[in-house]
């Protein structure tokens, strides 16, 4: 395994308590990963930042966008940059749970004895790309639940631990809904972030066209190895959260619930169910990662505001009135932030 010289901060590998230098080194490493991914995935800085943020926060990321916007490219590039094992699962309606978790096969040894041996599925990788996850049946989707939350897979009564770091990055197409199975709320809640991929601008589109259709295609360099990635993930959880920041996170989460004190009138009118306590955990975790990217050892309220939309987006269940009135979750989250801040 090779590592990039400029992105492997040695303080991170030490077992000593982290200090200011470790924070700075981790921040530099994160920015290097971001910069490297952005050289391949053009014009999607926000998308790249949130996916990297999800990866280093140790969560799963759901990417929603139209086909051809670079979702799969992003995941593949990220796997290259951080030097982790990656697998890709194309979800289809006939995909079965065993196809992703793995199955036991009958093996015959040299002496002719038959034994059942577990053959791991594509879930056994550090970075799993679940492409078009909403095309699989709910049964198959549910097979991901344990892996996403517990980082383990149970097959035929045997529990198999997934190797860390483990991150599921799922994509779904929001315009081709024919023959799809929308993800259940329980599964949606297990995604740390839901990222919306927007269309590129004219300049970005031109650059994409030129750079990807020539003789030479951009290739991302590996700037971080797996142990460093694990160190940074641990450091993220050590970023300081002051009481007033925790209070703000709790208030933001509470304000997404209809009828709660401090929730905007629009939330009461349009939201059926607000974000869960897991959402507040996700908010703080993503906020810590955001602070680390910024090179800070503490979380500010601005970090919470920056990650509030991808954290709450898939956790707020809107009512029928919102559908009729064309109200989006992002608009409601904006109201929540304005009200609380």
């Amino acid at each position: 395994m090779t590592t990039a010289d400029n992105a492997l901060p040695t303080p991170l590998l030490n077992e000593t308590p982290p200090d200011d230098a470790a924070v700075k080194a981790a921040s530099a490493g994160l920015r290097a990963v971001l910069a490297e991914v952005s050289t391949v995935v053009l014009g999607q800085e926000s998308l790249c930042r949130e996916v990297v943020l999800g990866l280093f926060a140790g969560g799963n990321v759901l990417i929603e966008g139209a086909p051809g916007l670079g979702k799969t490219l992003l995941v593949r590039t990220l796997a290259d940059v951080v030097d982790v094992t990656a697998s890709r699962i194309q979800f289809t309606p006939d995909l079965m749970p065993a196809d992703i978790t793995g199955t036991q096969v009958l093996m015959r040894d040299a002496e002719g004895r038959s034994t059942l041996e577990f053959r791991p599925g594509p879930l056994f990788a550090n970075l799993v790309l679940a492409d078009e996850i909403n095309r699989a049946t709910p049964k198959t989707q549910s097979a991901l639940l344990e892996a996403m939350q517990e980082h383990s897979v149970t097959v035929a009564g045997g529990r198999h631990i997934l190797e860390e770091p483990f991150c599921v990055i799922a994509t779904q197409n929001n315009i081709e809904m024919e023959g799809t199975y929308p993800l259940p709320e329980a599964q949606l809640d297990r995604f740390l972030l839901k990222v919306i991929v927007g269309s590129p601008t004219l300049e970005v589109l031109r650059a994409i066209g030129v750079s990807t259709t020539g003789d030479k295609t951009a290739k991302a360099k590996r700037v971080m190895d797996k142990p460093t990635l694990r160190s940074v993930q641990r450091l993220v959880r050590q970023i300081v959260v002051a009481p007033h920041v925790a209070d703000a996170a709790a208030k933001l989460t509470m304000a997404t619930h209809p009828g709660q004190p401090g929730s905007p009138e629009r939330v009461t009118r349009y939201v059926r169910f607000g974000a869960s306590p897991r959402a507040m955990q996700a908010l703080l975790l993503a906020g810590r990662a955001s602070a680390l990217i910024a090179g800070r050892a503490w979380v500010g309220i601005e970090d919470l505001v920056a990650v509030a939309a991808p954290v709450f987006r898939h956790r707020m269940i809107l009512g029928f009135d919102a559908t009729l009135d064309g109200i989006t979750t992002d608009g409601l989250i904006k109201s929540v932030i304005e009200t609380v801040s």
Partner: protein, 630 residues
């Protein structure tokens, strides 16, 4: 440098600067409060000044406290403000929290945060506390201008007041009585009442008090003492007038204690004096006695005949004694020949009433007494001696009030001539008012005239073509009324007026008309004839108390062709109007529609994403339905 210490120092500095700013902004308001207090002291006295000054002080203190609360800084809020203004991303707030509780061993990065904050403090210090900004707001400037304006106004007014105080005041107490001639006339009038032996002792005593007070007023040396005596005289005259008014009407106890000859004699005297009100009271008592037994009626009738004859003889003797001057009335007034003949006719009618009573015909006797009262009431008012005495007392009261008004005006600085003119104006106005009241009283005393099939209810008698009034005084109509006195009707039947009906009402004088169409219930009070208390406005006698309720309402009926098979809301309205509507259970309707929608989802070419929308629609309906009672 310790973050907590630095923040505390910055907070104190900020609070000092903000306090200076608030105090500066309060200066115009302080000036306005001072000016307002000065003005209140100058115009309203100490109490008003104290209230204004106290209120202004409280308002200033409260305003200052509220302003300071908005900008008051403690270390936590100072950290928040500095973080916000200098873009340190909550560094100071986090460091303050960590320093306050001490770094945790489990959180190694807390030390890093505190160290970074302490390193940033010297750089932040320069701009941590906002500089002093002494700015005058628009409202404050307006307050300053208002304070200046009020100060100038008060100063100018004080200057004028001092000039006014310095001007000499002309004495105006040289004359003590505004109109000595009127005072003498009033004294004479009071003495006349006091010496009138026909007045009650109480009335005469009050009149005597008034005369003595007026005498003292004439001898007073100052206008003030004269005014005080006039007030006493006025009160005594009022009391005398009230006593005389009360004396006119015999009390029920007094009448009950009279023997039959005394009652007859009183009736004869009231007839001779043409005192209709007194005659009415005595006649009620006489009829009550006559209705007790035939013997009592016969005795009373005989006494009445005798008393009438004796009174007539007395009048004749008086006429003979007076010689060529002719007879005089009870008050010594010279009677004309016509008046003398009229008095004799009244006494004859009284004798005739006694004769009928003696014969046992009480109804005829009662009608004769009513006719006698009517005859007396039709005479011009003020003709009776009692009326004249009453009028004399009322005149004295009115002139006394006029005199007091003039005296008061003179004491307030008017010249004696002006005061007299003012008293004259007040007197003329009082006379006018008294005249109006007199007219109204006369109108009220007049019996009402009306047409109605229900009896009236009034203190004065009703007179109608239908059923007469039901009042304290007898009614007059085609059928008698049901009152304290019996009605005097042409049909001679006692009516109780309980028969409902409709009729046209004319009542009171000035006449008015009230159309009362309808069918009153039998227990309703009937149409009023001559309703109204004596002396009050004639308008009150116009009020019909039973205009009645219309028996039927007429309305235009519109018919429109109905739809052959109305549906939906139209059908519901049609069924409701016919009283046949049975509400359809919403649940059944929803289930029906949901089944149709589900089948359409499967059958028709509806996109999958829209199918979910339709299903959610019915899910929403189901939720609402469970909340609402069916």
């Amino acid at each position: 440098m310790n973050v907590t210490t630095a923040l505390a120092r910055w907070s104190r500095a900020s609070n000092r600067r903000r306090a200076l700013e608030v105090a500066t902004r309060g200066i115009p308001w302080l000036a306005a409060a001072g000016a307002a207090t000065w003005a209140a002291l100058d115009y309203g006295g100490t109490v008003a000044g104290g209230i204004t000054g106290g209120g202004a002080f409280v308002a200033l203190v409260v305003g200052g406290v509220l302003s300071m609360r908005r900008v008051w800084r403690v270390p936590a809020s100072m950290a928040k403000a500095v973080d916000h203004e200098q873009g340190t991303a909550d560094l100071l707030q986090s460091a303050l929290a960590i320093e306050t509780r001490g770094p945790s061993a489990d959180e190694p990065l807390e030390t890093v945060v505190v160290a970074q904050a302490r390193a940033r403090v010297p750089k932040l210090e320069a701009n941590a506390v906002a500089p002093i900004r002494l700015r005058l707001s628009g409202v404050g400037a307006a307050a300053a201008v208002a304070a200046a304006a009020v100060t100038l106004l008060v100063a100018a007014t004080e200057h004028g007041s001092q000039q006014a105080i310095a001007a000499p005041v002309a004495p105006h107490d040289e004359v003590t009585i505004v109109d000595e001639q009127m005072l003498k006339e009033l004294q004479a009038a009071a003495e006349a009442i006091a010496n009138d032996l026909r007045a009650s002792p109480e009335a005469r005593a009050e009149a005597k008090k008034a005369a003595e007070a007026l005498k003292r007023a004439a001898e007073a040396t100052t206008a003030g003492s004269a005014m005080a005596e006039m007030s006493k005289a006025s009160r005594a005259l009022d009391a005398a007038a009230r006593k005389m008014a009360a004396d006119r009407m015999p009390s029920a106890e007094g009448m009950a204690a009279m023997s039959l000859p005394q009652l007859a004699e009183e009736l004869a005297r009231a007839t001779a004096e043409s005192d209709a009100e007194r005659l009415a009271s005595l006649a009620r008592e006489a009829m009550r006695r006559a209705s007790m037994s035939p013997e009592e009626a016969a005795a009373l009738g005989a006494a009445l005949e005798k008393a009438a004859a004796a009174q007539a003889q007395k009048q004749k003797d008086a006429a003979a004694q007076s010689g060529q001057d002719g007879p005089k009335g009870e008050n010594g007034q010279q009677l004309t020949k016509e008046q003398q003949e009229e008095m004799m006719r009244r006494l004859q009618k009284l004798g005739a009433a006694g004769e009928r009573m003696k014969a046992g015909d009480n109804v005829d006797a009662e009608q004769a007494l009513r006719a006698l009262q009517k005859l007396m009431r039709d005479q011009p008012k003020g003709g009776s001696p009692a009326d004249q005495r009453q009028q004399q007392a009322e005149d004295a009261r009115r002139r006394m009030a006029q005199m007091q008004a003039g005296q008061r005006a003179m004491m307030n600085g008017a010249s004696p001539s002006d005061a007299r003119a003012q008293a004259m104006r007040a007197g003329s106005m009082g006379q006018q008012m008294a005249g109006q009241q007199g007219d109204q009283r006369g109108q009220g005393m007049q019996p009402g005239q009306g047409q109605g099939s229900q009896p009236g209810n009034g203190q004065t008698p009703g007179q109608g073509q239908g059923t007469p009034g039901n009042g304290q005084m007898p009614g007059q109509g085609q059928t008698p009324g049901n009152g304290q006195m019996p009605g005097n009707g042409q049909a001679g039947q006692m009516g109780n007026g309980q028969t409902p009906g409709s009729g046209q009402v004319q009542s009171g004088n000035p006449p008015s008309q009230q159309i009362g169409a309808g069918q009153p219930r039998p227990d309703q009070i009937g149409v009023i004839s001559g309703h109204g208390s004596a002396g009050t406005s004639g308008m009150s006698s116009h009020t019909p108390h039973a205009a009645g309720t219309p028996s039927a309402f007429s309305a235009e009926q519109v018919s429109a062709p109905a739809a052959v098979t109305p549906e939906g809301a139209v059908r519901a309205i049609a069924e409701l109007s016919a009283g046949e509507h049975v509400p359809t259970g919403f649940e059944r309707v929803r289930d029906h529609y949901e089944a149709i929608a589900e089948s359409a989802i499967r059958r028709d070419d509806i996109p999958l994403t829209r199918r979910e929308l339709i299903q959610r629609y019915f899910t929403v309906l189901r939720n609402h339905e469970t909340e609402a009672p069916q």
